[in-house]
Structure formats: C-alpha cells, structure tokens
Amino acid sequence: MTDPSAAAAGTATRDVESYVVAPEHLEDVKPGRPRGLWSDAWRDLRRRPLFIVAGAVIVLLVVIAVFPGLFTNADPNLTDLARSRKPPSSGAWFGYDLQGRDVYARVIYGTRWSLLVGIGSAVFTVLIGSVLGILAGFAGGWVDGLLSRVGEVFFGLPFVLGAIVILTIFRNAGVNGALPIVGVVVVSLAVLSWPVAMRIMRSAAISAKQQDYVKAARALGARPARIVFRHLLPNCLAPVLVYATIALGAFIGAEATLSFLGIGLRDPAVSWGVMISDSRNFIRVAPHMLLFPAGFLTVTVLAFVMLGDAVREALDPKLR
C-alpha cells in the first residue's frame, strides 16, 4: 500500500474543517450546544408565522383576562333597560344586551371565565390522563387492563349527555359563586375527557418502553421511578402537549356549547357561551348580541387550534 507522506498529511488536514461538513452540520450551531427535540422544536416554532400570530393572540387574551379594567371602563353588570338591545355605537362598540348591559364590557370580562374553564379543563384532563396513561403503559399487565377498561367506561358516555347529567346534579346541589361554578364545569369536562389523554399517553409510553434506551436503562439497574421520569416522560410529552393545546381550544368551545344549553356557566361567572345563550331568542333583531361574543369565541378557539397545529409540526421528527 502507498505510504502517506507526512507533509501532504499536514497540508491536507488544515483544510478539512472548512469542507468536511455533511449537510446536517451546515446550520449555525455553536460547538457544544446540545440539540434535542425540544430546543429544535422551539427554534422551529419561533420562525413560524402561525405560531407567532396564535401566540400573540393568546397573550393578548390572557392580558384581557387578568386585567379587564385596562380595556374597558364600563361596568359589565350595570343594567339599564332603556338601552335594551341597542346596536353598536361609538359609546358602546358592541352595543347593549337585553338588559341594557354593555356587550363589549361583558365580552371583555367574560374572557377570564372562558379562559379559566379552558385552561383548567385542559390541565386536569392532561394530569389525570397522563398519570393513568403512563401507569397503564409502563406497568402493563392487569394494571393496564383495569385502567383501560375504566377509561372505556368513561369514554363510552356520550359527551354532551354525560356533561348535562353531571352538571345538572351539581346545579341541583346548589353550587353558587363564580369560582365554584367554574370548578364544576372544569370537573365535568375533565371527567369526560381524560380517557383520550390517557390513551395518547399510554400508547406513547408503550412504544417508548420498547425502545432500546429504556432497555438499556433497565439493564443498568435503574429503578422504575427513574425510568419513568427520566426516560419515558420527556419522550411521551410531545403528543400529549399537542393534544392539550388543541383540547384547550375545544374545551372553551365545549363550555360555550354547555352554556348555550343552559347548564354551563351562569351568573356571576359570565362567559361568552352564556352571552351567546342569552342572545338566542333575539338573533334576528339584535344580531350584535350573538356576533361579538361568538366572534371572540371563534378567534380564541382558532388561536389555540393554530397553536396546537404549529406545535405538532414543530415536534414531528418526521418533518425535519
């Protein structure tokens, strides 16, 4: 074989760095910065217009929810029957409702309750579903069988009907006050939706469990708890996160539907759904009573669904 000449080796290697880059190393990566799924996803998200727009809308909504006073001076509960059903004007951008209350102010103040329901339901659903899902997926065997059957029991309840039944019970039990009412709705939604979150988490846990890195951890003697938290959880989070974001939007919509049916939120926790429900009989004569809360509702749900879409695309390794 040929003998490499030392001098040639010297001059050749000096240029290696500038050219010996495979395509995947072309990006501007500082040496030593670890590139994981999450940091990659975040960098991807930052550049997507869908994410930026949705994120901005959501941030705005949160601000409105926390500081409604910044956006309106009017009192949302001040009634004045003389102004009943008046259409939008310069004084009241969204007009007045049946009892003469400022629709714009009510929409602004209602943001808080709608968002609370959405966030609360999403958090609870994901919590319950994830815990049970990881448990079922990781433990397998009869634990899995039992939990899956329980999940199916709840899954089999028709959503709207189940919600109506549960909420009617609470209502008859005399739950009053804004936060308790919100709490009741949150509980109902979570109780009916957790099986979906559990299923997602469970299948993610099952496929993660079969990965070699888990087997390696086991072979190294890692205890189950460590395996679950350190190895399984981070890798199962992605699909659940996507679900949670989209579900948030869906829950806000569900609350509106339940309020429309008369069993969701009610005074003093006035949400957009309640406002839409109130406007039901006056749609033809006073459409502004429906349109503005419906508009806010649509934009909010849209923002969360868009966010969920963007997150899903960012986290999907197949699209890299």
Partner: protein
C-alpha cells in the same frame, strides 16, 4: 379472528355494565328529591310518593335497583315516564330520526372531506391546499351551535332557501343542512386526515416501486395510493357514525328535530330518570357495537392487522 371477536365481546361486558351503572347512579342515586316539581307548587301527596317509590324500586339499594332495571331492559321493558308514556315507544319514534340525521351528516362529511383532502393531498403546497387548511381550521374552531345559528339565519330566514326548522317527519332532504352543521367539525377532521395521509403515503417506498414498475400515473394514485391512505380515514368515519348516533342535542335543538338528543335533554331537565337511563343504555350499546365493527373493518382493510 373468531377468538378475537369473542374476547372483545367479553371485554365489552364489564365496560357496558360500568357505563350503564355509572349513568344509573348519576341519575337515580344522587341525593335529592326525584319527584321535586312533579306535582306543581305543592309537595306531592304521600300516596303518590309511595306508589312511585314502589314502581321504580327506589326503596331497594342502588345495586338491586340497577339489576332490576337492567333486567327489565333486557326483556324489552323500558318502563314508563312519570306521566305514563311508554319509554320504549318514545324511543322507537325518535331514534330513527337521529339515525337519519347521523347518516346524512356522515355522508356529507365523507364526500366533502374526502374530496378536499384528496385534492389538497395530491396537489401539495399551493393555493388550494392553503384554502383547505384555513377553512378546516375555521370549521374546527367555530362551535357547532354558532354554525347552526348562522346557517339557520342565513338560509332559513334571510335567503329563505330552507325552512328554518325541520318538520316532524324529518325526511332526508330536510336533514341536509342540519346534517351539514352536525358534521362540520368532523368534515374538517376528515379532510385534514385524508390530506396528511395522502401527503405522507405519496413519498413512500412502495409508490416509488410502483413508478419503477412503469405503472400508469392514474393507477398509482387511484389504486396504490388511495387504498393505503384511506384506511385511517375510513376508520375515523366509522367511529364518527357511532358518536353521531349518540345524539346531537345541539343540532336537534336549533333545528327543532325530534330526535333522541332532544328527548334525553328534556328528560334530564324534567328529571325523567327512566327516559335518560333508557336512552343512554341504548346509545352505549350502539357505540360499543359500532366500535367493535370498526376494529374488525380495520383488520379487513389492512392485512397487516390480523387478530387472533
């Protein structure tokens, strides 16, 4: 395959029992006066209460109640409403309407969703693709009742293309708009699912092989691509039928359709426990059976799935 079906059926039983028991408890066993408001402003006379308690087994503990009730159901006796109407008859009158509505909804969502999904999936990025993505996004975001209202106002009142409410016979043509409303959310899912499935499968190895075999382009799309891409879509449509037949309370309410959803809704509000439990039991059975059928269908469609 037969063993799988048997196993699934056996698994269904505890789930069925669990769900129906849960509902039974929620409706009947929660503390509170079940007869409140039934006798008008005044409290009900004792004799009435005794008779009702006896009739509905309210003295027994909840498990016995449940078993007696399920026993009756098994023999076809759905019981009577508090005012003496036969629940079984009520259901048989209203359920077909809901089924028709569900079928119309699924048909509409399948046709529009598949067409939109196939076209945008095949074309790839472009105007049509963005159009489909944006419109489905809106359909997902707008709650059903808003869509229902808007269409009712526009088509029923403003432009007067349709009657705002559906007649009591509820024939097929009247159910088209309500069906569209009911299926609008699923339509969005169907088109997105189809689009994604086609876009993914388009780039798969077996499509490359079919190309290398010199197969004509239309055959590659309509035989090879579609046959694979539609599997998840068809299973979704199947489960959707199951859930839509579970009653469309909102849609039925807006369009005045005398379906099962309205029946249950009214039953809950007027505390007609028998109606509620009777209908929910029926719906749960339908849901579970449809799901089982869909799982079997999945095995037929995808030969890689073989249960044994």
């Amino acid at each position: 395959m037969g063993r799988y079906v048997l196993r699934r059926l056996l698994q269904l039983v505890p789930v069925f029992v669990g769900t129906t028991f849960l509902i039974y408890v929620l409706v009947w066993a929660i503390p509170g006066n079940p007869f409140a408001g039934m006798c008008g402003e005044r409290p009900c006379p004792d004799s009435f209460i005794t008779m009702m308690t006896d009739k509905y087994n309210l003295d027994d503990n909840v498990f016995v109640q449940y078993f007696k009730y399920m026993g009756n159901l098994a023999s076809g006796d759905f019981g009577e409403t508090f005012s003496g109407l036969d629940v079984g008859e009520l259901i048989s009158l209203r359920y077909p309407v809901s089924v028709r509505l569900a079928l119309v909804a699924v048909a509409i969502e399948a046709v529009i969703g598949l067409v939109a999904g196939i076209v945008s999936g095949l074309r790839g990025r472009g105007f049509l693709d963005s159009l489909v993505l944006v419109s489905t996004l809106f359909l997902i975001a707008i709650p059903t009742f808003v869509t229902g209202f808007v269409l009712q106002i526009l088509l029923g009142f403003q432009w007067e293309i349709m009657t705002p409410t559906v007649s009591s016979e509820a024939n097929w043509s009247e159910l088209i708009i309500p069906g569209f409303v009911l299926g609008s959310l699923s339509m969005a899912y169907v088109s997105r699912l189809t689009r994604t499935s086609i876009a993914e499968n388009k780039r798969s190895d077996y499509i490359r092989t079919a190309l290398a075999k010199g197969q004509p382009h239309h055959r590659i799309v309509w035989v090879h691509l579609l046959r694979n891409s539609l599997i998840p879509v068809l299973t979704f449509l199947g489960t959707d039928i199951g859930s839509l037949m579970g009653g469309a309370v909102v849609t039925e309410g807006i369009f005045g359709i005398n379906g099962i959803g309205r029946l249950v809704y009214d039953g809950i509000l007027s505390k007609e426990g028998v109606v509620v439990t009777g209908v929910v039991v029926l719906l749960v059975i339908v849901f579970l059976v449809v799901n089982l059928i869909i799982d079997l269908l999945y095995a037929v469609l995808d030969p890689r799935i073989r249960y044994d």
